[in-house]
């Protein structure tokens, strides 16, 4: 494999533009009617490539990616499971893909019915009363839920300004809380990797608006005392928020709603196989208990004797959290997946996810440090701390895995574990794959003792070797002060590089 030039570097000034339809009607050209100052003075520096060149360019870029389609992708907390190709077929149906969001309701009954059914299914899975499908991703869902929680307290004339977040929480939790206007108070984890009830006790107060919890938490451990936690939180009049990134651990086994959570977000791009797309689009629906229903974002989908409508008139609603009705294409995929799996399939999926995680944990427990006692749920966090003396770090193990055709686990998260290596195998990876991954870990750990430098030099079999992020950061800072040449955060052609008029 080699690197590929940028499309801008492949561009040549005189390449023909693509054939496109003519106007066919007599109408004025922009320059005929618009004032000079309204017009663009210099054409944008887009590349000029023929279709064969650009298709090969993007095909080569594709081949430079690892992906679940070809590689085991044990990225902890991300639930990188198989993405059914059927989902893609479903979302591409013209009856979905070609719908305009402002078509009249009676022309989109099928789309609304799908949203309604998906909402019902998600309610059943997590144990809530209603679900909004609007949030575009998990973080967006967190923020949406916190807006509802704020509105809830406000409606009861309570001024609650703090949100409690465990130290093991994902970064989006505190960020969402802050952006929603709350002060973030961190709750410490105990030695067993679970939230410390004592510390929670001490942080709970009349100021507390909510506790954000992930369960199983980001260490892959189930919060045993969740029922007590819920009681404590509710006793202070605060609400309990569930970060659903780890929902894949217990579909059909238990439900956040039953644990006492008042609001729950789900990542359809994790648990429900909508593809991650190299960083989205995803979908982060939020489920809520009855108390929060009045505050759901508008519009909601309502069904009255078979007829579906969008309800925009919700006086207590927090309003709109994004345009239109959600990432509909992703909702189609998730619904398709749920139909195919069914209640029985989803339940077995979670059981297999837990089984696989415990199996893989067992296979590597002698090679890496296991900071916490098992059993784990759908993922586990190991530590490379035991290699400290060799100078080999979690990062080196990650890169060495890449050279062995495995994507790397999540490293250095959660922050509560030093040299964290967070492994989530999911239910769609075969025993054979888990075995070969464990062998690779054993091999790498062995090499750490004999040839640590070899590991520092990995990856060697990829288009580029290990990238120097420190130097890169330095260069960006220089660039921001106008003291470094492009390309840094963008390509920049020669100053006169703006393409000339088409030949």
């Amino acid at each position: 494999m080699t690197t590929e030039p940028l499309s801008f570097e492949l561009s040549r000034p005189a390449v023909d533009p693509p054939r496109l339809p003519d106007a066919e009607v007599a109408g004025p050209a922009p320059s005929d009617v618009l004032p000079r100052e309204a017009l663009r003075s210099r054409a944008p520096g887009l590349p000029r490539l023929s279709e064969p060149e650009s298709m090969r360019h993007f095909s080569r870029l594709a081949s430079m990616n690892y992906s679940i389609s070809e590689n085991f992708y044990p990225l902890g907390s991300c639930t990188m499971k198989y993405n059914p190709v059927l989902n893609e077929q479903a979302a591409a149906l013209p009856g979905f893909a070609s719908l305009h969001p402002y078509q009249d309701e009676d022309t989109v009954q099928g789309a609304l019915e799908l949203m309604w059914r998906l909402e019902q299914a998600l309610c059943a899975i997590v144990g809530v009363d209603r679900v909004t499908l609007q949030p575009a991703a998990g973080a967006h869902g967190e923020w949406t839920a916190l807006r509802m929680i704020a509105a809830f307290h406000h409606s009861r004339e309570e001024k609650r300004t703090e949100v409690l977040v465990p130290d093991s929480a994902h970064g989006t939790n505190p960020a969402s809380a802050a952006l929603s206007g709350f002060r973030v108070v961190e709750v410490r984890s105990g030695p067993d990797g679970r939230i410390s009830l004592a510390d929670l006790e001490s942080k709970l107060s009349p100021q507390t608006a909510a506790l954000m919890l992930t369960n199983p938490n980001t260490l892959g451990l189930f919060e045993r005392e969740i029922l007590d936690i819920a009681e404590m939180v509710h006793a202070t009049g605060a609400l309990l928020y569930y970060d659903g990134a780890n929902l894949n651990a217990f579909m059909g086994i238990c439900r956040p709603g039953d644990m006492g959570f008042d609001a729950v977000h789900m990542n359809l791009h994790k648990t429900f196989t909508t593809p991650h797309g190299g960083g989205g689009p995803g979908a982060g629906p939020v489920g809520v208990k009855a108390d929060l229903v009045p505050f759901l974002p508008t519009p909601t989908v309502e069904r009255t004797n078979g007829h579906l409508t969008l309800d925009h008139r919700r006086p207590k609603s927090i309003g709109r959290v994004r345009s239109f009705y959600g990432n509909f294409g992703m909702l189609v995929r998730a619904y398709t997946y749920i139909l195919a799996m069914g209640g029985d399939g989803l339940g077995q999926a979670s059981q297999d996810a837990v089984l696989s995680a415990n199996y893989l944990r067992k296979l590597v427990e002698t090679d890496l440090e296991m900071p916490h006692q098992g059993p784990c749920m759908h993922e586990f966090v190991a530590s490379a701390h035991n290699l400290h003396d060799t100078g080999v770090r979690a990062l080196d193990i990650a890169k060495a895995l890449l050279d062995r055709h495995f994507y790397a686990p999540t490293v250095y998260f959660p922050l509560v574990v030093s040299e964290a290596i967070m492994v989530e195998p999911t239910e769609t990876e075969s025993k054979a794959t888990l075995d070969s991954f464990a062998r690779a870990i054993k091999e790498i750990v062995g090499q750490a003792r004999t040839d640590p430098q070899g590991l520092h030099d990995e990856p060697k079999n990829l288009p580029v070797g290990r990238l120097d992020e420190v130097a890169a950061a330095r260069k960006i800072n220089a660039w921001l002060q106008g003291q470094a040449e492009d390309p840094v955060l963008r390509w920049k052609g020669p100053l006169d590089g703006g393409p000339k008029e088409p030949g």
Binding site: T3, S7, F8, P21, A23, E24, A26, G27, A43, L46, R48, S54, M64, N65, Y66, S67, P84, P94, S98, L99, H100, D104, Q109, A111, A124, A136, G138, A139, A178, L179, I253, H276, G277, G278, G279, G280, I318, M330, L339, G343, D344, A349, L355, S356, N358, K362, A398, E427, S430, K431, G465, R466, A471, A472, A473, L480, V488, L489, R490, P499
Partner: protein, 430 residues
């Protein structure tokens, strides 16, 4: 069961290695009282039956042909080159995660770097991020940037900005105590003046004037722009707006009932540290080979947590990739060509509609691009009539703006061929 890989024998072997006798032993930490019998959902279906049920739902929607779709309002039917789906449907792209391991994700990283450059070029600004959820959240994030940058807590919305964008802006603002006011007279409290060019009705606004006014008041100017129009209209950078934000759906994405689309945001160099979300930059390996990696992560939630510029994590990468493929296919002159065709057709249609008895342009003195507002007699009935003839007619904007009762906005793009315009006119006369 579909998508599960373990055979019963595999499971037995795994339990043995673990040294557990049953699932229950692995689930000991879950309080008994919480354990479910089973999910209250029907059993799974075969692939064939699944697809039939989903197809049946799709069949209960009415699809208007692109040529006969004259409704816009933020989502447009445009020609989408086959190249776009051919690239975005590559599993190497669509089944990858956010590129945390740069060396094994160069495809995604370089594609995003190209996308960032394309957006920066279109907007004539210095830096674009890797994508946001949609146009609405992009505008809201831009306002948050201004709030943080200026330390002022009021944003001004000038003119007809997309009503849903403004609603989202309010929801975002509330969390942080930011007031959202309508108007174009910024003052000392104003963090930013936000305008849309062309605006929600398709009309051109005085972008230069508004930007100047904002700067005079020490506020930032945020331009919400239509990326296709930027091949012809002055881009934000040329009238020195500070931030450009907008919706990228027109760059190769299908309407898909409103999503997923892609929000773009670009800004001046000085504001880069305030940018939300992912940003890709160049980096080099020991052999000096150029690669790409996530940059300036110190802005982001996973490092900064509650102090992050935004909470966004998963964004809309694959949609950004689609936009990159679309823009690479079109090139500067292809893009200008479709913009010009859209412009010409819209103006031709406007003239024909305005000539209909009882019809008139809602703002005859204003310039527009490829979408325009007309005042029509009995608009609602008329739109229903068109629908019966398979035409998705103009959008009734009174639903958001009471003062625009009876006003419809019509839009034209390269998909509305001359014959389609004739069909529309006949349908209206009939």
């Amino acid at each position: 069961m579909p998508y599960l890989v373990h055979s019963p024998e595999d499971r037995t072997a795994m339990f043995e290695i673990i040294g557990a006798r049953s699932m229950d032993e692995l689930l000991v930490d879950i309080p008994r009282s919480l354990r479910l019998e089973a999910l209250q959902l029907p059993d799974g279906l075969s692939e064939m039956e699944t697809m039939r049920q989903v197809t049946a739902l799709a069949g209960r929607n009415r699809v208007f042909p692109d040529r006969l779709t004259f409704r816009g309002g933020g989502v447009y039917r445009r020609f989408i080159p086959a190249a776009v789906a051919a690239v975005t449907s590559k599993p190497e792209f669509y089944t990858a995660y956010t590129p945390y391991q740069a060396e094994a994700s160069q495809g995604t990283l370089q594609a995003i770097f190209e996308y960032q450059t394309l957006i920066a070029e279109l907007t004539a600004l210095d830096v674009s991020n890797a994508s946001l959820y949609d146009g609405a959240t992009a505008v809201a994030e831009a306002a948050m940037m201004a709030y943080v940058h200026t330390g002022r807590n009021e944003v001004l919305v000038a003119g007809y900005v997309h009503p849903e964008y403004v609603q989202v802006l309010r929801a975002f603002g509330e969390g942080r105590g930011i007031k959202v006011r309508r108007g174009d007279q910024p003052n000392k409290k104003t963090a930013a003046v936000i305008f849309q060019q062309p605006d929600f009705l398709g009309l051109l606004v005085d972008a230069r004037g508004l930007t100047q006014a904002a700067h005079d008041a020490g506020a930032l100017a945020i331009a919400c722009v239509d990326p296709i129009s930027l091949s012809i209209l002055a881009p934000p950078g040329e009238y020195s707006a500070d931030i450009a934000a907008g919706e990228g759906q027109q760059l190769g994405l299908s309407p898909s009932f409103g999503g997923p689309h892609v929000g773009f945001i670009a800004c001046k160099r000085e504001l880069v540290r305030k940018l939300p979300g992912r940003l890709v930059g160049t980096a080099y390996d020991a052999q000096g080979r150029r690669g790409f990696t996530l940059a300036l992560a110190a802005r982001e939630q996973h490092i900064r947590r509650e102090k992050a510029t935004s909470n966004i994590c998963t964004n809309h990468s694959l949609c950004a990739l689609a936009a990159a493929v679309y823009l690479t296919y079109m090139g500067p002159y292809g893009l200008r060509h479709v913009a010009e065709v859209s412009f010409k057709r819209a103006h031709a249609l406007a003239e024909r509609l305005a000539a209909l008895p009882g019809w008139e342009l809602a703002f005859p003195e204003r310039q527009f691009f490829n979408e325009f507002p007309v005042r029509a007699p009995k608009a609602p009935a008329l739109v229903r009539k068109l629908a019966r003839k398979g035409i998705l007619g103009g959008l009734e904007v009174s639903r958001w703006f009471r003062e625009l009762k009876g006003v419809l906005t019509f839009t034209c793009t390269e998909v509305n061929d001359a014959h389609a315009l004739d069909e529309l006119m006949e349908a209206l006369k009939a």
